[in-house]
Amino acid sequence: MSSYKTAHIYFLQTIMSRGIISHTECARICEKFCELTGDDGNSTLQDFIGTINTQLLSFHFKVRESKREDTGETVFVLVSMVENVLNRLVINGNYSRVEMDFFRKILDLIVLSSDTDNPGCASSIDILNIADSLTPKLSKSDAKKLLSRLVNDQWFYDNNGMIVMSPRSILELEHYLSVAHEGCVKSCKLCNLLVFYGQSCEHCNACIHNFCAAQGFKNTTEPKCFSCGHAWPNKYKPISGALISGKEHR
């Protein structure tokens, strides 16, 4: 393990400021900071982040690797390893109490959509309609602003009006989600991580990520459920342009 240098501190400050960064950008940032500080840039990104994590361990923070549920892109997230994170968000003052309620209701909506045809996402229209049920009420325009702020801070991604959770919310709120929605929260049958936005077996309801499906069904023309062996529904879509309709792909 290489020693902890200024380039690592720069990187740490960047991810503290941004919360979540894609793999490709991490590599670019890492290179930039090594160049800027003249520190050794020969180690791999994994090593570089490993060095930071060794330092962070005792402070209950960690840079974790995960994948976007909608695009399968690898991302890195700075997470606090102390539980009860929803309270933490209130403390950190970025969101007021009513804004936190809204946040929580969006999570509810997305988690409870796991039994529908479109699991793990919610339309922005449905989300804005929650605003009325909050006390005190949130106006539609404020709710709209708040939703774009949440998307901007990358708690959610907006794929043409379909809102999905980002790894930032999944990793940070893992504990909250599994307690608040016991029984509704599933783990992917292939990678074992939590799954919200994905595809499920018609027979046993087992759920897997789209990117896991793409990987797992790569070499077969007749996909079967990894849990019960039932034929996998035809709605299986390979992960490509058709599935990811995010803004950046337009």
Binding site: I9, T14, S58, F59, H60, I91, N94
Partner: protein, 233 residues
């Protein structure tokens, strides 16, 4: 109860040391970093209430360790402000970020732009400006006291409450004035966060001058500041 357990229990309400001190210090580091998102100084009482609890007596020992760890791992300096019961702490970045803004994507970049503008106005007016003059200048940038702004929303609240609570601005009421008037100065965080040299370089560029030395009094002010910092740092 064994005698060993007894002594450790006695110690619990007493001063922390060794591993325990280290562990509490780590918790405080976590806590102040989360708190910092608000950019509001953290009070000694907050740290005691949320983290140290029964170990208040170890505060000064703990905070020394915290300061060291913040600097070494996070590149952040813990700065003490205020006196006595009002003692508080704020975090100041120790790294040079003049070439990193493209990757850092600081939250609230636009707010920072407005703040920088206000600090510039104050500095160029001789380190203080009256609220009337400030709003008059801002109006020319399309920022009005009583109108909601498309980017900043309630600008008045942003400037008079948020910036001042974050200690970027120091706003004081001028005595014996009717209607009331306010004087704006740099707050403590501004002195630590924003180098006066940066402001002068910005103004020099803005007015297309050749050198920052053309602003004589401001230049001397800046030099004096930099000397001070060198001595204390």
């Amino acid at each position: 109860m064994s005698s060993q357990a007894q002594t450790s229990q006695n110690r619990a309400s007493d001063k922390l040391s060794g591993v325990e001190l280290e562990r509490k210090a780590n918790e405080v580091v976590h806590f102040v970093l989360i708190w910092e998102q608000k950019k509001i100084p953290i009070k000694r009482a907050d740290i005691n209430k949320h983290v140290l609890k029964d170990h208040k007596s170890s505060f000064s020992d703990v905070i020394k360790v915290v300061a060291k760890k913040l600097e070494k791992v996070f590149g952040i300096k813990l700065v003490e402000i205020g006196e006595g019961a009002k003692k508080a702490y704020m975090l100041v970045n120790t790294l040079d970020h003049s070439e990193t803004s493209d990757v850092m994507k600081w939250k609230d970049n636009s707010k920072r732009g407005l703040l920088f503008t206000i600090l510039t106005l104050i500095f160029m007016s001789g380190n203080s400006i009256m609220d009337g003059a400030l709003w008059h200048s801002l109006k020319r940038l399309g920022i009005e006291k009583d109108h909601s702004h498309s980017v900043f929303g309630d600008v008045k609240k942003l400037i008079t409450q948020e910036f001042s609570r974050q200690m970027y601005l120091d706003i004081s009421k001028v005595p014996n004035c009717d209607p009331p008037q306010y004087e704006y100065r740099w707050g403590q965080r501004a002195f630590h966060d924003i180098p006066k040299r940066k402001i002068l370089e910005f103004v020099t560029k803005l007015y297309d001058k050749s050198d920052i030395m053309v602003w004589k009094s401001q230049y001397q002010d800046m030099i004096a500041d930099e000397m001070n910092e060198q001595q204390s740092g």
